[in-house]
């Protein structure tokens, strides 16, 4: 984490040389922990962007500082009145709001992948699980139940049969019980996405409502409500083979998908976001994908920094076509 912060400071200072950039790249490539730390540093930095855009960031920050100081005062008074029973919980409550715990939880998980990484895991009962980019998963197999907990990201599961032990996946929004199947589960900010390709899956939401999703269907649900069931998009399954299949997707949606596989900034100009895209693209090397897109569409890939890439409309003046 410290190293990531140091790199961030160096790159931001404007004093970084070509050599520095190269060393930073190899530091990133060195381990997935580095990439995770870098991602964290970047997530935090990105949350400051709206403030940079204000007429006077310094003044805005001073206002925030004054507000925070007043709250700290009041907090001190509040917590000194009552004995601090269970400080742990309060710490947890505020801690939850920062992106860090997600990363800490992910690193402590039984199985995890970094951004851009995909992995196949075979569990003790022969069940195959593919972890997509930036995913963390815990495994809790018991005598009476096979249970996985998805903490973040996306998984595709091909369950092995075991009539004695049901197979379930828990997410913050509820429990999915597999009835002999192949299905994918993905956590979105406050929803769980479920796509079923074989067999069926029973959803029990945290609030207790349940529904059955059949092969060829997909849905999203929150803790207490579930969206309409729609036909499963089988192209969604292809990520497990490292391929993104775009069948009449907008470029904007393709970019949204690619962002999950990349650290750093990937922007798109609004005037090209509506272009239609057909084809299959490698997810393991998203830079290749960008090059392929640029050769098929009237767009230009602008690489300001290795981690700052934006997609713009191509103009006639562009040298490379």
């Amino acid at each position: 984490m410290e190293q990531a912060a140091e790199w961030y400071a160096l790159l931001r200072s404007g004093e970084a040389t070509h050599d520095d950039h190269a060393r930073w790249q190899s530091w990133l490539e060195h381990s997935s922990d580095h990439r995770l730390a870098w991602q964290y540093v970047e997530t935090i930095s990105r949350s400051f962007e709206p403030i940079h855009a204000t007429p006077d960031p310094r003044q805005t920050a001073d206002g925030l500082w004054a507000a925070n100081s007043r709250v700290i005062q009041r907090r001190r008074i509040l917590t000194s009145i009552v004995a601090l029973a269970g400080t742990g919980l309060f710490g947890w409550a505020t801690w939850r709001h920062t992106p860090l715990p997600g990363i800490v939880l992910a690193q402590m998980a039984d199985h995890h992948t970094a951004t851009g990484e995909q992995r196949e895991v075979v569990l003790s009962d022969g069940t195959h699980v593919w972890l997509n980019t930036a995913t963390a998963l815990n495994e809790a197999y018991h005598a009476s139940l096979r249970r996985l907990c998805l903490i973040t990201g996306e998984i595709l599961i091909d369950t092995a049969t075991d009539p004695q032990r049901p197979f379930v996946v828990d997410t913050p929004q509820g429990r999915l019980r597999a009835l002999g199947t192949r299905f994918t589960v993905r956590l979105e900010s406050d929803k769980t996405f479920l796509g079923v390709y074989q067999g069926s899956v029973e959803i029990t939401s945290a609030a207790g409502t349940s529904s059955l999703i059949q092969a060829g269907q997909q849905t999203r649900f929150t803790t207490d409500a579930s969206a309409a069931v729609e036909p499963a998009d089988s192209a969604r399954e292809t990520w497990s083979r490292g391929v993104l299949v775009a069948w009449d997707m907008t470029l904007g949606d393709v970019v949204k998908e690619l962002r999950r596989y990349r650290s750093g900034y990937l922007g798109i100009a609004p005037e090209v976001a509506g272009l239609r895209v057909f084809g299959s693209f490698p997810l393991r090397d998203t830079d290749d994908t960008l090059t392929m897109l640029a050769s098929a569409l009237p767009i230009r890939i602008q690489r300001t920094l290795p981690w700052w890439v934006s997609i713009e409309a191509r103009t006639d003046a562009d040298p490379h076509r």
Binding site: A9, R12, I44, P50, L64, R70, A207
Partner: protein
């Protein structure tokens, strides 16, 4: 969420979970409401937060349930403290932002959508900073919000840049 406690393998049915919350509600709601009203000095806010507290328990029950009356109360009180602070924090940040906005000429004012985005960002960053040691929080805020280098931050705070680097990222 994923404990090895196999007793948790049974999904609590909606009924039993609701029943638990119902008991909690009848045992503690009045107490919680008056606790909040005393701290907030406002009956409407207190009623809202008390309501929210039980709603949260329905959505996300306490991890291990409560062994007894005292434990439930301690949990609720800690939760209520956090909610009070969160409410004050939101209001303070909103006030500070409105003051800042008022100080700028109208022509410079960001669009209403932009203003909401800034407010959200301020709350997120503010929450993160609340739990840092004040000096480190200040240094980090200056560096990140004002895009100052370590050296500039060090000068502004009157400490060495080595110190600023030590504060690092939260």
């Amino acid at each position: 969420m994923c404990s090895t406690d196999s007793s948790k393998d049974i999904v609590p049915t909606a009924d039993s979970a609701m029943q638990q919350v119902y008991f909690l509600y009848s045992d503690h709601h009045d107490w919680l409401y008056s606790w909040l009203r005393h701290r907030l000095g406002n009956a409407a806010d207190a009623a809202d937060l008390a309501h929210d507290a039980f709603l949260r328990l329905i959505i996300k029950p306490a991890p291990r349930g409560f062994a007894n009356f005292g434990e439930a109360r301690a949990y609720l009180r800690t939760m209520a403290q956090g909610m009070c602070i969160n409410l004050w924090h939101r209001r303070e940040i909103e006030r500070a932002w409105l003051d800042t906005l008022a100080a700028w000429p109208e022509a410079l004012a960001p669009s209403p959508e932009r203003q909401v985005m800034v407010l959200e960002a301020l709350h997120e960053i503010g929450t993160m900073l609340l739990d840092l040691p004040p000096k480190a929080a200040r240094a980090f805020l200056m560096a990140a919000a004002c895009q100052m280098t370590d050296k500039e931050v060090a000068e502004a705070l009157g400490v060495s840049s080595r110190m600023v680097r030590k504060y690092g990222f939260p």
